[in-house]
């Protein structure tokens, strides 16, 4: 199997979220970047497992600048064979998907995998867009993936349950929790990652369709109102008459 896994960076989950330039820019000062958890824990690890049982290769693709290379090396340390970096900021989801689709079209991949969403912009757009741009089926929110020859059986989340579906390769898939277990890279993996091929490709011509004009932080919560554990009737009264939510 020839597998392509989309890898994005996202700020460490404990990062303090702040904005600069009159709230128009995310303040990257002091922010540690990690591989987006859905890409790493689920998409990448399941791709590696498939390669281990079926043979083939796992290539990662990232739309990003040279500053993203540590995140790419981490994916290589976990076990990807080689990496591709499209040398540009990821301007918006469409721009990113367009770059990935352009590269993937020339690569004869059996599967393009991505995470369910990034934890910074939470867009969950790239997978569907790549599928549309390549004219391929899109299996979203997959929680289990088995492959037999050219047919895959996938469990995917649906409203109110799980759907078990079959799809022929090639296709695009977004991975959700349940697909695989997180792998911690070992020393050998980390050493090997340093010399694995990382190809830098110039971006294709494409315009971003949307832009973020400004950001805001939520209002701070007003103080918590404490109710005595011995007086639960009071809490019910507050929820009913004050908050009016029950």
């Amino acid at each position: 199997m020839k597998l392509l896994v989309c890898i994005s960076k996202s700020p460490d989950t404990t990062s303090k979220i702040e904005f600069t330039d009159n709230n128009t820019k995310f303040n990257e000062g002091g922010v540690q970047y990690i591989v987006n958890p859905y890409d790493e824990w689920y998409a990448l690890v399941r791709a590696l497992e498939l390669k281990e049982t079926l043979g083939g290769s796992v290539t990662t693709i990232t739309v990003g600048t040279a500053a993203d290379e540590p995140v790419i090396r981490k994916a290589l340390a976990i076990g990807a064979d080689n990496a591709v970096r499209i040398d540009s900021e990821a301007k918006d989801a469409y721009y990113t998907a367009y770059q990935i689709a352009e590269y993937a079209k020339s690569g004869d991949f059996d599967m393009v995998l991505c995470g369910k969403e990034t934890i910074n912009y939470n867009g969950s757009q790239v997978g569907g867009m790549v599928a549309e741009l390549m004219g391929l089926p899109f299996v979203s929110l997959a929680t289990k993936l088995e492959v037999d020859g050219a047919t895959a059986t996938v469990h995917k989340e649906m409203s109110g349950g799980v759907e078990v579906v079959e799809v022929n390769t090639p296709f695009v898939l977004s991975a959700a929790k349940g697909m695989a277990e997180q792998r911690i890279p070992n020393m050998r993996g980390i050493m090997a990652a340093r010399t694995k091929p990382l190809e830098v490709v110039a971006p294709a011509d494409c315009d971003a369709l949307v832009s973020f004009e400004s950001y805001a932080l939520p209002d701070a919560k007003t103080d918590c109102k404490y109710v005595d554990a011995g007086n639960i009737a009071e809490l019910v009264d507050l929820l009913h008459n004050e908050a009016k939510v029950i």
């Binding site: 989950t13 790239v126 569907g128 549309e132 979203s140 315009d207 832009s211 004009e213 939510v245």
Partner: protein
């Protein structure tokens, strides 16, 4: 302005988040709804109450394949010359919205939580609920996918005309073999009331008190990440930065410490109640109401008091 709203009605009824999408559309322009499957005509006409003028239904298409639905939505958008296409960000809406955006090269706003502002920008959640962003769409055609439970809806008098619609939607690349329905009546992503518990509950055998409270409230159940990781609860109940982000009216959290990654998924809730034995638990800083106490005592009492309230009303 002509607006098209896609809603998923495959289970034969109209969910609240679908009504929200229709209502949202009607606040932007003259709204046509498109859907597919076998739902009753009467139920569709009712969408007039939320501002739909017209409903197009493709009876010949019974699948939720994202590629076929994309063709359906694009054909309907052409038929009504829609300038804005609205989706609910439910599981089907997510994948169809992104395909439609790519197919039409129309800018997509994902996770809208408010109507477009006067300057045309749309407010969305970013950083898993830790911040907001205002998104500008740079294309003439726009696609907006709204977060369930973000806008209040009001029903008015009205009835929509229902028309059969057909389009060549191509073939499904995905063949559905089996559908496994989830247990429990209330679905977490759309729930208005949620009862959630964490590691403080000590083991899966203790979840009865959580389910009892959820039942009297008509609430969905949720949990923290470690609880689903160790298999005490199913993955689809995991809320937080790496799970589901939800915005219920009421979120009751028992035995959850309130780590930053957990808060990210729930701080859009309108009212948060925290029950924790530790008065220093960080969750109290994000709470509207707090009880410093033992969940094993507080939850059953709360269930009992709510039963009393329900009996009075």
């Amino acid at each position: 302005m002509s607006v098209l709203v896609y809603i998923d009605t495959l289970n034969g009824s109209i969910a609240k988040n679908a009504m929200e999408a229709v209502y949202y559309g009607s606040k932007i322009g003259s709204t046509t709804v498109v859907t597919n499957g076998t739902i009753d005509e009467g139920a569709l006409a009712e969408l007039g109450k939320y501002g739909a003028q017209k409903v197009l239904i493709h009876r010949g298409l019974s699948s939720n394949d994202s590629s076929q639905l994309t063709n359906l939505v694009v054909a309907a958008a052409e038929a009504v010359s829609a300038e804005t296409i609205v989706f609910s960000l439910d599981l089907t809406g997510r994948s169809v919205a992104s395909r439609v955006s790519a197919k039409l090269k129309a800018g997509l706003v994902v996770g809208a939580i408010d109507l477009p502002a006067a300057d045309g920008t749309v407010k969305v959640n970013v950083f898993s609920g830790k911040a907001y962003g205002n998104v500008k769409v740079n294309t003439a055609k726009k696609v907006i996918a709204i977060t369930p439970n973000s806008i209040g809806i009001e029903a008015a008098d009205g009835s929509a005309s229902v028309e059969e619609f057909s389009a060549d939607c191509g073939t499904a690349g995905i063949r559905v073999k089996e559908v496994q329905k989830q247990e429990g009546d209330v679905l977490l992503p759309e729930a208005e009331l949620v009862v959630s518990a964490g590691r403080g509950l000590k083991g899966p055998e203790n979840w009865g008190i959580v389910e009892d409270l959820a039942k009297v409230l008509g609430a969905a159940t949720a949990c923290s990440r470690p609880v689903s990781d160790i298999g005490w609860r199913p993955h689809h109940e995991h809320v937080g930065q790496t799970g589901l982000a939800i915005r219920p009216n009421l979120y009751i959290a028992a035995g959850i410490s309130g780590a930053i990654q957990h808060l990210a998924g729930v701080n859009g809730s309108k009212v948060i109640v925290v029950i924790n034995t530790d008065p220093e638990a960080p969750f109290f800083k994000a709470a509207d109401y707090g009880i410093v106490g033992d969940a094993f005592e507080v939850l059953p009492k709360l269930t009992e008091e709510i039963q009393k309230l329900k009996a009075q009303n």
